[in-house]
């Protein structure tokens, strides 16, 4: 048995297992932790397929930064909230599970069957070559800063927009705000101390 097969098996089980566990975890913190586990397992599969840089980024950015953000928000909004198990929307669960199963079946069918048609590139050997010379990171960087320069620049715009947007959205609404919104609460004293007002 090849060690790679073992690694793949482990990551397969962990990724799928923790994904399923996410579905059933009632506490948002648990969901987040399972997601971290799944992401780490996915990072392993990236490594297995020669995407070294992406694997690293996956761990650092996703499992690290983004998930911390999630946990932070979960904590901010209160961890104890548990969801009721009753589904208020009729048919929602049936549709989700039923169609989800169908979709999964279709994707797996395509994945297994479809690769026969799809492959038309140079194959994995080429990637091995690239990973040796000039190396995975360099190759990625070269692609990013030459062929994909325009989308790359666009992402920077996207990030700026996101930052500004978040600032607008997350600022405390108050009388001193530089972008006063006209809402129905405006002028009422409760606007600033919203948090204490019961919903």
């Amino acid at each position: 048995m090849n060690i790679e097969v073992v690694v793949f098996g482990v990551s397969f089980v962990v990724a799928l297992g923790s994904s399923i566990a996410m579905l059933f975890a009632k506490n948002a913190v648990h969901v987040a932790l399972f997601l971290v586990a799944a992401q780490v397992a996915l990072a392993l599969t990236f490594l297995l397929q020669g995407a070294y840089f992406i694997a690293a980024v996956q761990i650092i950015v996703y499992a690290g930064a983004i998930m911390v953000l999630f946990l932070f928000v979960v904590m901010l909004l209160g961890v104890d909230r548990r969801e009721a198990l009753i589904e208020p929307l009729s048919g929602q669960r049936t549709i989700a599970v039923g169609l989800g199963a169908l979709l999964a079946a279709e994707i797996v069918y395509v994945a297994v069957k479809g690769t026969e048609f799809v492959i038309g590139g140079r194959g994995e050997d080429a990637l091995v070559t690239i990973n040796e010379d000039p190396g995975n990171v360099k190759a990625l960087a070269r692609a990013l800063f030459s062929d994909y320069l325009l989308p790359f620049e666009a992402t920077s715009v996207l990030l700026v927009v996101a930052i500004v947007g978040v600032m607008v959205l997350a600022r405390r609404m108050g009388h001193e705000g530089f972008l006063r919104e006209t809402t129905e609460d405006e002028g009422s004293e409760g606007a600033e101390t919203d948090a204490e007002v019961p919903a």
Partner: protein
């Protein structure tokens, strides 16, 4: 490179994506829904990486890189929205936000 053939990776990606879909549809906590969306994105990333391997180019990985950036931006904005909704309505339950109808 691994001897595990790409079909398995794609199948894993597909299954995880579906789980993400099901979760996003069935859970009601907005943050949790967001996490399932992240799960879907991750599954897609796996698919891209697999394709990159199959094609023997790094383009797939570049796409993953972009997906990461977009996901990060999206998470940040999304969470900010959730927070502002929570401030107003004292709830992160998406079913409570149903005013825009009919």
């Amino acid at each position: 490179m691994t001897s595990v053939s790409p079909e398995y990776f794609l199948a894993l990606a597909g299954l995880m994506f579906t789980i993400g879909v099901v979760g996003a549809l069935t859970r009601r906590n907005a943050i949790v829904i967001f996490m399932f969306i992240e799960l879907m994105l991750n599954a897609v990333n796996l698919a891209f990486v697999t394709f990159s391997r199959m094609h023997g180019t790094v383009d797939g990985q570049v796409v993953v890189f972009f997906v990461l950036v977009v996901a990060a931006a999206e998470v940040v904005v999304g969470l900010a929205i959730i927070i502002s909704i929570f401030r107003r309505r004292r709830s992160a339950n998406v079913d409570d936000v149903n005013l825009l109808k009919w």
